[in-house]
């Protein structure tokens, strides 16, 4: 069995929240799918609500304090990420975006990412592909093809493109396969010196 780290980012605001509910289901499905491939997923959930003040402080001061720093380090060290946002005004929530606004631009590079979103009705479902997916393209993440949208009525019965459970399992299997293909992540040290001074001097000529 090999071990890999999964970080689940949930931007739900209410407690309990349907965003967190979807995040937990995606996380559980990912653990099961990874288990089928002989991978043990160590999962950490990051609730952005708990970090809301520190995210704002980071926007204003330029550095992450306390729990936000831990969360950023966890994301950078993660082998895979599940990111779930409620849809607010036709897009990801401001809190969700702000978390990624203060994340190092290389923190997700090449990393498998599964996207999820929740809203009241399915009319918002394209927010996943029109808003979330391009954001993670900017981060050069490997976003799995299936992104999971859950509207209020998905928590009840079937919907036109198959039930929510089916979509969750398909997405989780895609994420597990991406994790399986990769070596474990070693996060880059921002303070590490990558070139000697002679190189720096000579690169100027």
């Amino acid at each position: 069995m090999k071990h890999r780290n999964l970080v689940v980012i949930s931007a739900g605001l209410s407690q309990p929240s349907s965003t967190r509910l979807l995040a937990d289901q995606l996380s559980a499905a990912a653990a099961a799918a990874a288990g089928d491939l002989g991978i043990v997923l160590d999962t950490r959930v990051v609730e952005l609500r708990d970090l809301a003040h520190e995210i704002t402080n980071h926007l204003l001061t330029g550095f992450p304090a306390g729990a936000l720093r831990d969360a950023q380090d966890a994301v950078a060290a993660a082998d895979a990420v599940i990111a779930v946002s409620p849809v607010f005004s036709a897009s990801y929530s401001g809190l969700f975006k702000s978390f990624f606004d203060v994340l190092d631009k290389d923190a997700l590079a090449g990393k498998p990412v599964l996207l999820g979103a929740t809203a009241g009705t399915a009319r918002h479902s394209l927010a996943l592909d029109h808003a979330l997916r391009p954001l993670f393209t900017y981060f050069r993440a490997t976003v799995v093809p299936t992104a999971v949208f859950a509207a209020a009525d998905d928590w009840g019965g079937d919907s036109a493109d198959g039930d929510l459970r089916t979509r969750i399992e398909r997405a989780a299997a895609e994420l597990a396969r991406e994790i399986d293909h990769r070596e474990p992540v070693t996060p880059a040290d921002p303070f590490a010196l990558t070139s000697s001074f002679e190189d720096l001097l000579n690169s100027n000529s």
């Binding site: 550095f63 306390g66 720093r69 070139s195």
Partner: protein
């Protein structure tokens, strides 16, 4: 160990009165502040350089020259001099001039500057910040050490048979500190030349400072300038003091809450926990400052920020009184008692003159870099 103050030269509305000082007032006040720093027994006054409002200090050597004429012992420095957007030839000339006028009471701290538009205003590109700092300093270093300079680089017009005048006082260039918050390349640059490294320290978590200083010390030894603990380190600090710590917190809070940089963000308590800011009694400042040594090692220069965020002149002068009377004398004694004998003091003009007279090979770092600069040119 040297103790002093550094100013970013912001013109900020006093949030408790709504009053904004005029540029003229603030400029005259900074002279008063610098002179008072000498009067209370501080060693160093360092002034920032900015080319945008709300800052007044576009021309630090003019201000420092004026202060030099009215002081006797105060060492005049910068925080920082922009090595990216200034012409290194002009830096060489201006600071050698200041050195002569101030009888050697001059050093300088180089920084890149982080205000995007300033770069294009001076015909530069912020994305080339690091290469500009490297090339410009290589030229500055050479101009102060070689009488006649031929030079060709990427960022300024070539020089043929150029001599920067006046020559450095007594043939000894001003000591240089390289300031950076989190760019390892700048710690490496300071280490390569055997120059000083100044960690701004304030407004940032101590972990940044610890990592940068440790890298600088390690590379300083790598380049053969001494042991890691012999590298020359300076730190910033930010304090507000009253005899009773509750009074300090109550008085400083409105300035903190509305300050440029961090205002309207974290609470005073959160920022105090995360950064070196200390608001409280003189004893709290003494304890906190002595604690810096635990994560950077024995260091040579401590500069405090005391005059920003709209604090009135009277308050700033009172802060200097407390520093000079109660804080710095204790810190001098305590730091001196802790410092091993092989850890040097910060270089001064006198010590550099003595070193160059007794040992021509002291400038081996200079020779090394001069030859590398030629390779690069």
């Amino acid at each position: 160990m040297q103790f002093g103050i550094f100013s970013v030269s912001d013109i900020t509305t006093d949030p408790t009165t709504g009053r904004t000082p005029t540029e003229n007032e603030r400029i005259k006040n900074i002279v008063t502040i610098a002179k008072h720093a000498e009067d209370v027994g501080l060693d160093v006054f360092a002034l920032g350089e900015h080319h945008n409002e709300p800052f007044f200090s576009s021309s630090p050597t003019t201000t420092l020259g004026y202060i030099a004429a009215q002081t006797d012992k105060l060492l005049l420095s910068t925080a920082t001099t922009l090595i990216t957007t200034n012409d290194p030839v002009k830096i060489a000339e201006d600071f050698a001039m200041l050195q002569h006028l101030a009888d050697g009471r001059v050093d300088l701290m180089l920084g890149r500057g982080n205000t995007g538009p300033v770069y294009p205003w001076f015909g530069k590109d912020i994305r080339a910040g690091i290469p500009l700092a490297i090339e410009n300093y290589a030229l500055l270093h050479k101009l102060w050490r070689e009488h006649v300079v031929d030079w060709k680089g990427r960022y300024r017009t070539p020089l043929q048979s150029f001599t920067s005048t006046p020559r450095p006082l007594d043939g000894v260039p001003p000591f240089v500190w390289h300031g950076s918050i989190r760019s390892p390349e700048i710690a490496e640059q300071a280490a390569y030349y055997g120059d000083g490294f100044f960690a701004n320290h304030i407004f940032w978590p101590a972990s940044h400072t610890q990592r940068m200083v440790s890298l600088y010390r390690e590379r300083f030894a790598h380049y053969g300038h001494g042991d890691p603990d012999q590298a020359i380190v300076g730190l910033g600090g930010q304090v507000f003091m009253r005899r009773n710590s509750q009074d300090a917190v109550r008085e400083f809070r409105p300035y903190f809450d509305n300050a440029p940089v961090y205002g309207h963000g974290p609470s005073l308590e959160e920022f105090t926990a995360e950064t070196p800011l200390t608001v409280g009694s003189p004893q709290q400042v003494i304890d906190r400052t002595l604690g810096f040594r635990e994560y950077v090692g024995d260091y040579q220069r401590q500069l405090f920020l005391v005059d920003h965020a709209g604090l009135p002149l009277k308050t700033v002068l009172e802060q200097l009184d407390v520093l000079g009377e109660e804080v710095v004398p204790v810190l001098r004694k305590e730091f001196a008692a802790l410092k091993p004998a092989h850890v040097p003091e910060a270089p001064t003009h006198a010590s550099l003159v003595a070193a160059s007279a007794s040992d021509p090979a002291t400038s081996s770092a200079g020779n090394l870099s001069a030859s590398s600069a030629e390779v690069s040119a």
